[in-house]
C-alpha cells in the first residue's frame, strides 16, 4: 500500500469517476439516442418541424435565461445578507429561506394560485388578485422563488469556503467603500460559486416541468417539457414516445451547448490558490438602520414569496375541502390521516433511507468530479454530469429503465440510480465552488506526515470543505426526499417511496393530502436541517 501504492489509488480514483459517469450519464443517454435514431429514423425532421415546437423551445430558453438572471442575483443578495452581515435572527432567516426546497414543485405552483389568483387569499381579504400568476410571468416568478434557495445555498457555501477577510480589508484600506469592495472584490471572489449557481439554475429551469404545467397552461404557455409530457400522456403509441425522447435529447443539446462553453471558458480562469492562513469570515457589523432596512426588505420578500403561499398550503392541508373558508370550523386532520398510515410510514422509512444513501453517495461522487476536473483530462466531466440534470424526470427515468430495466426494474436500486444521475450536478457544483482554492500544500503536508490519500483528505481537506459538503448533502437529501416523478415511474412492489404512496392515494385532484405531505416533510426535515446548519456553522467558526 505504501511503497508502489500511488499508481493504484490514482487508477482507483479515475475508475471511481469514469464508471459512474458511464453508468449514470453516458449509457442511459446513449440508449435514448439509440431509440430516437433507430425508431425515429428519417422522421427526425418531422419531430423537430412540428407546429409550435419553435415557440416551445424559445419559451424554454428564454424562461431559463430569465429565471437565471433573476434567481442568481437574488441568491447572491440573500447569501450576502444572511451570511456576511450581523443581521439579528440570522439563523431563523437562513432556515426560512430554504423552505421552498422541501415543497414539491407542483404544490408550490398550486400554493401561489391559492394565495394570489382569483378567489385566493389576497382576493378574499383585500379584493386584490393577480390573473398573471397563471401565465408566463407567474411561471417565471414562481420559478425564481423556487430556484433562489438553491442559488443562495451554492453562493453561501462559496462565501464560507473562500472567505478571506484580508482581501476585503485591503480594498477598504485602499480607499474602497463597503459597496465598492463588494462589487470589485467580494463578488469577484465568489464568482466561481456564482457561476456554479447560474449553471445549475439555468439547467434546472430548462428541465423544469411542474410549474410551467400548472401555471403556464391556462395562458397557453408551452415549454419543451410540457410537450414531452403531452407526448407521453396521450396515445401510448411508439411515435409519440419517440417524439418525447427526441425532445428530451433536444434539451440535452441545448444544455450541452450552453454549459460546456461556460465551463471551458470559466473553469481554468477560476482557479487560484487560497493563502495558507486564510481566516474564516466573521459577520461584518453594520449600521443599525441598514440592518433594520435589510430585515424589513427580507421579511417582506419572504412574506410575499414564501410565507403567504406556504401558509395557504398549510391551511389547505387542514381544511376539509377546496373553496371553503379555512376557518377552524372547516378544519380537519383527514389529510394527515391519509398521509400517516402504516403503509406510508413504511414508505417514509424507505424514502428516508434512500435519501440518506443517495445524498451520501452524491457527495462522494460530487467530490470526485470536483477533484477530477482539476486535471486537464477531467475538465469535461463537470459539463457531462449536468446533462442528466436537464432531462425531465420522466425522460431520465425512461432512460434508466431502458438501460437497466432488464435487471433492476422495480427495485430501489434503480430509483437510487435515478437520484444519483439527476442530482449529481447538484452535489458537484457547490463542492467544486469550494474546493478549487484548497491549497495542495495542505494535502502534501498530511501525506508527508504519514497519512494515506484517504486519511489526508479526511483529516485535512474535510474541515475547510465541511460547509460545502453539508450544503450539498442537504440539498440532495431534501430533493430526493420529496422526489415524485421518477420514483412514481420506477417503483415496483416493495419499493414505493413516500411520494408515490401519497400521490397514488390523492388522485381526483385533491390537494389536501399532498399539502399534508409537504407539511409533514417540512417538519421532518426542518429539525435535522436546522441541526445540520447549526453544525456547519459551528465547524466554520471553529475553523477560523
Amino acid at each position: 500500500m505504501r511503497g508502489g501504492g500511488s499508481a493504484l489509488p490514482r487508477a482507483g480514483a479515475t475508475a471511481a469517476v469514469v464508471v459512474p459517469l458511464a453508468a449514470l450519464v453516458a449509457f442511459p443517454l446513449f440508449r435514448l439516442v439509440q431509440v430516437a435514431w433507430q425508431e425515429g429514423g428519417g422522421d427526425l425532421s418531422g419531430v423537430l418541424g412540428a407546429d409550435g415546437l419553435g415557440t416551445a423551445l424559445r419559451n424554454t430558453v428564454v424562461l431559463a435565461a430569465g429565471v437565471t438572471l433573476a434567481a442568481v442575483p437574488l441568491g447572491v443578495v440573500l447569501a450576502l445578507v444572511l451570511r456576511r452581515s450581523d443581521l439579528p435572527g440570522r439563523a431563523f432567516w437562513q432556515a426560512t429561506v430554504l423552505a421552498p426546497v422541501v415543497v414539491p414543485d407542483f404544490v408550490l405552483g398550486y400554493s401561489w394560485t391559492q394565495a394570489y389568483a382569483r378567489a385566493g387569499f389576497t382576493d378574499t381579504l383585500l379584493g386584490l388578485s393577480w390573473a398573471g400568476v397563471q401565465g408566463p410571468l407567474g411561471v417565471w416568478l414562481v420559478l425564481v422563488v423556487n430556484a433562489s434557495p438553491l442559488a443562495y445555498l451554492v453562493v453561501a457555501v462559496g462565501l464560507a469556503a473562500r472567505a478571506e477577510p484580508d482581501l476585503e480589508r485591503a480594498a477598504r484600506v485602499s480607499g474602497a467603500g463597503s459597496a465598492t469592495t463588494l462589487v470589485t472584490i467580494t463578488l469577484r471572489l465568489v464568482f466561481p460559486a456564482v457561476a456554479a449557481a447560474a449553471v445549475l439554475v439555468f439547467v434546472l429551469t430548462l428541465g423544469t416541468f411542474a410549474i410551467p404545467q400548472v401555471l403556464g397552461a391556462p395562458a397557453g404557455f408551452s415549454t419543451v417539457t410540457t410537450r414531452i409530457y403531452a407526448d407521453l400522456s396521450i396515445g401510448g403509441d411508439p411515435a409519440s414516445f419517440v417524439e418525447a425522447v427526441t425532445l428530451a435529447l433536444l434539451l440535452v443539446l441545448v444544455a450541452a451547448a450552453t454549459v460546456a462553453p461556460a465551463d471551458s471558458i470559466l473553469g481554468p480562469r477560476l482557479r487560484a490558490a487560497r493563502p495558507a492562513d486564510a481566516q474564516a469570515a466573521h459577520p461584518v457589523p453594520g449600521r443599525q438602520t441598514v440592518r433594520r432596512a435589510e430585515a424589513v426588505v427580507l421579511g417582506g420578500y419572504l412574506a410575499f414569496s414564501m410565507c403567504l403561499p406556504l401558509a395557504a398550503l398549510a391551511l389547505s392541508s387542514v381544511t376539509r375541502a377546496l373553496g371553503v373558508p379555512p376557518t377552524p370550523a372547516n378544519w380537519t386532520l383527514d389529510s394527515f390521516r391519509g398521509v400517516l398510515t402504516v403503509r406510508t410510514l413504511e414508505a417514509l422509512g424507505r424514502s428516508l433511507g434512500l435519501s440518506v444513501v443517495a445524498a451520501t453517495l452524491l457527495v462522494v461522487l460530487g467530490g470526485l468530479v470536483a477533484v477530477a476536473e482539476r486535471r486537464r483530462a477531467g475538465r469535461a466531466t463537470a459539463s457531462l454530469i449536468t446533462l442528466t440534470l436537464v432531462l425531465p424526470g420522466s425522460t431520465l427515468a425512461v432512460a434508466l429503465l431502458i438501460a437497466y430495466g432488464r435487471w433492476l426494474s422495480g427495485s430501489l436500486a434503480l430509483i437510487l440510480l435515478a437520484y444519483l444521475a439527476k442530482l449529481w450536478a447538484f452535489a458537484h457544483r457547490p463542492i467544486a465552488g469550494a474546493l478549487d482554492r484548497l491549497p495542495p500544500a495542505e494535502l502534501y503536508a498530511a501525506r508527508a506526515s504519514g497519512a494515506g490519500v484517504l486519511t489526508a483528505v479526511r483529516t485535512v481537506a474535510l474541515r475547510p470543505l465541511a460547509p460545502a459538503l453539508l450544503g450539498a448533502w442537504l440539498v440532495c437529501f431534501l430533493t430526493a426526499l420529496h422526489e415524485v416523478t421518477m420514483s412514481s415511474l420506477l417503483y415496483g412492489p416493495g419499493s414505493e417511496t413516500l411520494a408515490v404512496i401519497v400521490l397514488n392515494s390523492s388522485e381526483l385532484g385533491r390537494i389536501g393530502p399532498t399539502a399534508a405531505l409537504s407539511v409533514v416533510l417540512t417538519l421532518l426535515v426542518a429539525v435535522p436541517g436546522i441541526l445540520l446548519w447549526w453544525a456547519s456553522n459551528r465547524l466554520r467558526t471553529r475553523a477560523g
Binding site: A170, A171, T184
Partner: protein, 325 residues
C-alpha cells in the same frame, strides 16, 4: 504646542467575545517616525494594527490620525476614509487582478481614470523595480514579488501613516533584507509615519526609531532601540529584545542582567565552558560559574573547547527593576 502626532492611540481596549486582545494600550507615532511593535504571536500586535486601520471596533479608548479622532467617538471612521496604507502578512493580493491593476486600485478609488491610474501604478512598480511583473496575477508571483506588489499598493495610497503587519513573516531570509531596505527607503522618501509589527527582535531594533514591546495585550515598554535593549523593564522584555543572561551580581547586589557583549573571556571570575557556537564574525560561549550561567560573545572563531576552565570579566550589567525570577 508641538505638531499633532501622525498617530495617537490612547487607552485602547479590544475584546473579541470573552477574550480581551488589547488591554489599555497608549502610544503615539510622530511624523516620519518608524515605530516597531515587538511581541510574540498573540501579544496583540495585529489587533492593534487592525484597530488603527478600522477593521475592528475598539471597546474603549481612542485612535487619532493626524489630530482627527477616527475611533472612540460615536461614529467610527470606516477604513477607506482613514489616511493609511497597510501591508499584510499574507500579502492579501486579489486573485483576479494583475499586479498593475492591484496597484492602480487605490488611485481608481480616489476617482482617477483608468489610464491615469495605471500609469501611476506603473511608475510605482518601476520604482520598486518590478515593472516586468505588471501583467501577472498573484498566483504567478513568488512570495517576495507578491509582497512587493503589496507594498506598491500601499504606496499608491500615498498615506500619512503606514501599517506593516509582519510583512516579512512569509519571506525567505535573503529576500527579507532587500525588502526591508526597500520598505524603509520608500517610507522615509514619502515622509510618512510607520508602525511595523514583528516578532523578530533584530528586525525591530535595526529598523525602528522607537520600539514598543507588547505582551498579552499590554504595553510593556516603549523607547529607542538602545533603551529597550540596554534597559529592559523586566526579564520578559529583555528576552524579547535579544539573548540575555541572569547572574548574581559579583558585588553581591542581587540578580543582574547581562547581554552577550557585556562580558569578555579572560579575567578574574572563574567558569567552565558548557557550550560553544560559531556565528561567523563572532562566537558565543555559554559558561557556568559560581555566579550562574551566562552567554559571552567574543569576536572571531571559538577559542575554548567545551569543558575548558576559563576566566572572565564582567564589563557592565543591568539590575532588573522589581521582582524577577
Amino acid at each position: 504646542m508641538p505638531a499633532e502626532p501622525a498617530l495617537e492611540v490612547r487607552d485602547l481596549v479590544v475584546a473579541y467575545g470573552r477574550t480581551t486582545a488589547l488591554c489599555g494600550v497608549s502610544l503615539s507615532v510622530g511624523t516620519a517616525e518608524v515605530l516597531a511593535l515587538l511581541g510574540p504571536s498573540g501579544s496583540g500586535k495585529s489587533t492593534l494594527l487592525q484597530a488603527v486601520a478600522g477593521f475592528v471596533v475598539p471597546s474603549a479608548g481612542t485612535v487619532r490620525l493626524g489630530g482627527t479622532t477616527v475611533a472612540g467617538n460615536c461614529r467610527p471612521v470606516p477604513p477607506e476614509r482613514r489616511d493609511l496604507g497597510v501591508v499584510f502578512q499574507n500579502y492579501a493580493l486579489w486573485p483576479h487582478l494583475s499586479a498593475l491593476d492591484t496597484v492602480a486600485y487605490p488611485a481608481r478609488r480616489r476617482g482617477v481614470g483608468r489610464p491615469q491610474a495605471r500609469s501611476e501604478a506603473r511608475a510605482i512598480l518601476e520604482r520598486l523595480r518590478i515593472a516586468h511583473l505588471a501583467d501577472r496575477k498573484p498566483a504567478e508571483l513568488s512570495g517576495g514579488e507578491q509582497q512587493r506588489v503589496g507594498l506598491a499598493r500601499a504606496l499608491a495610497r500615498r498615506p500619512a501613516v503606514y501599517l506593516f503587519d509582519e510583512p516579512t513573516a512569509h519571506l525567505d531570509t535573503h529576500v527579507r533584507g532587500v525588502f526591508l531596505a526597500e520598505l524603509v527607503a520608500r517610507q522615509r522618501e514619502a515622509g510618512a509615519a510607520a508602525v511595523y509589527a514583528t516578532h523578530d527582535a533584530e528586525e525591530a531594533l535595526g529598523l525602528a526609531d522607537r520600539v514598543a514591546l507588547l505582551s498579552e495585550g499590554r504595553l510593556l515598554q516603549i523607547g529607542t532601540p538602545q533603551q529597550v535593549y540596554d534597559e529592559p523593564v523586566d526579564l520578559f522584555a529583555a528576552r524579547l529584545t535579544g539573548p540575555a543572561s541572569l547572574i548574581d551580581a559579583p558585588d553581591g547586589g542581587g540578580t543582574v542582567l547581562v547581554r552577550p557583549g557585556w562580558a569578555r573571556l579572560g579575567g578574574p571570575l572563574e567558569a567552565e565552558v558548557r557550550a560553544v557556537w560559531f556565528r561567523g564574525p563572532h562566537s558565543d560561549h555559554l559558561v557556568a560559574g559560581p555566579l550562574g550561567e551566562l552567554l559571552v560573545r567574543e569576536p572571531g572563531p571559538p577559542r575554548h573547547p567545551v569543558g575548558a576552565r576559563v576566566g572572565w570579566t564582567l564589563l557592565r550589567s543591568w539590575p532588573l527593576p522589581g521582582p524577577t525570577g
